[in-house]
Each structure stands twice: as structure tokens, then as C-alpha cells.
């Protein structure tokens, strides 16, 4: 498999706090990578640097061999690197359907279609259908069709999370970064959401990088895990190997796993 996205010797600190210390990671195309680590370990900083929200102090981010470190977030988005947010970023005054139409409208706008002089309903780039049709399709796929006319402010947490991710599909992403896709979602909903998202991404051939605190979700859905501690990557490999690593157990998932092991031993 070929390298799609790479961080090369990336450093970032906020005052005395080191958020990234010589981060090197190459992400292969079509892979699903889980990022784990305690709060403040540098996972979200990693995502924020890839998407251009933060600029590294040194080192660079490469996408298909091209240096994208200095690009603005919207230019990185246009290359096909999309992200979701820990707290869903939706258009609060609009309905679910209108949220989707707005996302698709931006694609039309960026492609110079549907402008002032266009008469027909143009096809959304990459989707081969008018925006209205594509919107229905994506909502259907993410199980959001029943919420179509609902204002996004009244949606349950899990549905908001799903919509936040579904919006990125408008752009036909090549890489999708999910920042804690299951945080704030009930335990029952978690797997359903991940199942639906991962299925859609596999079908579209999207490379997924996701930050997650629930180790069950990590071991079930990721093909590779990067464990962060203190701004460094302390383990990198298959989920079972990384989650079993003594350092990872001590610094990252210690509390979580020990508790489960103890429960299992008692049972």
C-alpha cells in the first residue's frame, strides 16, 4: 500500500506544554487508523495540524508527496482531507436537509457550477446528480432521512454526530479525520454509529483516522493504532499489539483495561 498522508518530524508546543514532539507517521491509503492517548497527549493537535487549523513549529505534513503544511484549512479540505468535530459543527438555524444542501452548495460553488448565469440544475462534482438528489442519498445512507425536516438544534446527540460526519460526504473525501466520533453518545448508540460510518467509508474507499477513548471501539474498528503520550507516539501497529504493549497499558489505557481485567477476573 502506498503512503497517502505523512507527518515528518513534526513539533508543536503551546508555551511550556509540548503537544507534538518529533511526530513521524505515514498513513497508507485505504487504512483505518485509531489514535489513542489520555487527554492532552496530542491526538487532537495531530488532527488540527493535518487539517491546517494549527501550524507545526517545525516539520511538515505531506499529502500524496505534496507539502501541505502551510495551506489554509479550506484549501486542505479542497484536496479531499475532511474532518468531523468533537462537538458537532452544524448550521443551527437550518434543517438537516438544508445542512446537507449547504454542504453540497459549497462543492458547486468551488467547482464554479450553479452560478448566477446557470439555468439548469448542475450536477455536484463527484456525485453525478443535482444537489437535491445527492442530499437525499447521503441522508438515507446515514439513516438520517427521518430527521430530514428537523432543525439541527433539537436532534439527539448521536444524530448530531452522524450528521456532522455525513456532511463531509458532500466533498467525496479521500481522507476523513474523526475527532472522537462517539464521545457524548450513549453506549448503545456507539457501535451503531461506528458501524454505519465505517461501512460507508469502506464503500467509498476513504482513509479514516479517528480519535477514540473507548478501547473496545478502537480494537473493533481500527486496522492500525497510534498511541500518543506527552506529544510523542509511543506505540504504532496492529490494535492487539498496541493495546497489549506494556507502555501503552501503563500510560494510555491502563486505568481502563485494568478495571475491565479485574472485572473479568472476578466474574
Amino acid at each position: 500500500m502506498s503512503t497517502l498522508l505523512a507527518a515528518c518530524g513534526v513539533n508543536k508546543s503551546f508555551g511550556a506544554v509540548t503537544a507534538a514532539a518529533d511526530i513521524n507517521a505515514a498513513i497508507e491509503a485505504d487504512s483505518v487508523v485509531g489514535l489513542i492517548g489520555a487527554n492532552g497527549a496530542g491526538k487532537t493537535t495531530f488532527i488540527n495540524m493535518i487539517t491546517g487549523y494549527l501550524k507545526p513549529d517545525s516539520g511538515d505534513i505531506r499529502y500524496e508527496g505534496r507539502d501541505i503544511t502551510a495551506l489554509a484549512p479550506r484549501d486542505i479540505t479542497r484536496l479531499g482531507i475532511l474532518r468531523s468535530f468533537q462537538i458537532p459543527q452544524l448550521y443551527g438555524s437550518l434543517s438537516v436537509y438544508e445542512n446537507m444542501l449547504t454542504a453540497l452548495g459549497i462543492m458547486l460553488h468551488n467547482a464554479g457550477r450553479g452560478g448566477f448565469f446557470s439555468r439548469s440544475r448542475p450536477h455536484v462534482p463527484g456525485h453525478d446528480a443535482p444537489a437535491e438528489e445527492v442530499a437525499e442519498r447521503i441522508l438515507e445512507r446515514f439513516g438520517l432521512a427521518e430527521y430530514r425536516e428537523k432543525n439541527t438544534q433539537v436532534l439527539p446527540g448521536g444524530v448530531r454526530k452522524l450528521l456532522d460526519i455525513a456532511l463531509t460526504m458532500a466533498a467525496r473525501p479521500r481522507v476523513l479525520l474523526l475527532d472522537e466520533p462517539t464521545s457524548g453518545v450513549s453506549a448503545e448508540e456507539k457501535f451503531g454509529i461506528m458501524e454505519m460510518v465505517m461501512k460507508a467509508m469502506k464503500a467509498e474507499g476513504v482513509t479514516v483516522i479517528f480519535v477514540e477513548h473507548d478501547m473496545e471501539v478502537v480494537s473493533r474498528f481500527s486496522e492500525r493504532v497510534l498511541a500518543f503520550y506527552d506529544g510523542r507516539i509511543i506505540a504504532d501497529g496492529r490494535p492487539e499489539a498496541v493495546l497489549g504493549d506494556p507502555d501503552v497499558r501503563r500510560y494510555v489505557v491502563g486505568g481502563e483495561l485494568r478495571r475491565r481485567d479485574e472485572q473479568a477476573a472476578r466474574a
Binding site: R74, Y91, G92, S93, L94, T102, I106, F116
Partner: protein
Amino acid sequence: MKRDRMPSLLGATLAAVIVGGPLLPQWALFILTIAFAQGLVALGLMLLLRAGLVSFGQALYYCIGAYTAGGLARAFNVGDVFLQMIAGAATAALAAFILGFLLARYRGIFFGLLSLALSMILYGLIVKSEALGSTDGLNIAQSTLFGVRPAADWVRYAVAVAAAFAGIGAAYLVHRFLGTPLGRLAPAIKDNEIRVEYMGASVRHAIHVKYVIAATLAGMGGALAATTVGHIDPEMAYWTTSGEFIFIAILAGTGSVLAPFLGALLFGAIHTLAYDLSPHTWQMSLGTALLLVIVFLPEGLWSLFARRRTA
């Protein structure tokens, strides 16, 4: 899909002015024309309001438009209403294009006060300039239409029809713009700029475009007002003038491109009536009217029509 009723609604309004105009007294034609001039400014404000921006300084472009028209009339003896409006719009657009690089960086109260400050700078400059007539302003010769000077009794009607063509034409173009992907981005920008940027669109560019359109409309309105009144003065850039435009925009609501003109007409009617009944407390009547609209019709006058349609 709903059929778009706006073009026929706009056409009917235009026809009503052309047919009904000769029946109206001169003073009513004057109020109608000024309503179109102010409606143009409010139409631009509506575009900005939809994106969550309140400009307290549209009088800047209103005044630029008016002085461009005045300059054209005095220096080059061009009295043509359409030429004056085009020139006023173009000058305002150019000014907004340049200032837009600065203003598109700001939001909320900063955007509002910065736009107000810019209009007050222009006010100050004109007041200090003898060549521009200082506080007295300048008189402009009577308007012409396509090189023809209408008979004295018909000037008001001719200018009113020209105003209707300009206003309705602009309303149609803005209506079309609101249907484009860029136009539709307004509520998204108001709601969540982060998401807009992370979907790959430039918020600053979108706001810059809307700002220039709003200024173009204000410049056109200013030129129209100048030729209608026959006089220009620095009060056109004063902050209370901007306040009147916001008053009209709030009165009208952001629901439709026709609403700003209705709002302006109502504003003119209330203003005239209140001034007639009690010259010293007319502001109180205006204030009361605005209060009633905000309390009972928070979406503006247009909600009266919108509600009836869905009911």
C-alpha cells in the same frame, strides 16, 4: 418543488407603478421614488443581515452614490437618471471593493462600528470641503431620461418609473443571487463559520462579495435620491441616515427581496404622516412603529404575507 412566484410578483409591482403612477399626486410620487431609493439600500442591508452582519454605515455608499450623481450633473451636465444611477453604483462598488478587504475581517459589533466610523469620516470630509458645498450641500439640475427632459408635470412620474425599473430590476438580480450556491451560504455563515471553512469555502470572500453588492445597491439608491430631491448634502452620510436604513430593513424583514421596498414605503408614509401631525415628536411615532413591529412581527412586515400564504 415550489414554483418561484417572485418574478411575477416583481413584474406586477412594476406594472402597478407604471399604470398607477399618473393617478398619484406629485407628493405621493416623490414618496414612492424615495422609497425605491431607500429600498435599494435596505435590499443590500438584507443581504448582509442574512449573513448575520449589521452595517451601521450604509449611508457611506448612499452618500458616495449621491455625490457621484451630483458631480456628474454639475461637472459634465449629465442629468440622465439611469447614467447617474450606474455611475453612483459603480463608484460605491469600487469603494466597497477596497474597504471590503478590511471589513470582511470583522464580525458583530466591530463590523457595525467600523462601517459607521467610515461613513462618519466621509461626513467629516464633505463638511470640511468648500468644493463639495460643505454643510449646505449642492443643488443638482432637473433629471432627464435618455436625453429627454420631461415636461415639468411629468418629471416626478418619469423618475418614479425609472426608479421602479431600477429597484425591481435590482430586486430580481438579488433574488437570482440568493438562489446561487454563494447566495445560499448566508445563513450558514451566520450559523457556523468554522463549518463553512472546513467544507472548503472562504467566508471572507463570501462576505466581501455581499458587502460589495450591498454597497452597489446603496450607491444606486443614493444617486436616485439625489436626482429626485435635486439636492445633496453631507447629512446623507450621517449616522442617523444609516440608522434609518436599518430601521427600514428591520421593518421589512429578510424574507423577500420585495420586502425592503415595502418597508421603505411604509417608513416614508409613517414619517410623512407623523411629521404632518406633530412636527416635534415625529421620531416618537417612528419609534413606536418599530417597537410594534419588533414585538408583533419579529420577522418583519413580510411575515404578514408569508403567514397568510401558508395558512
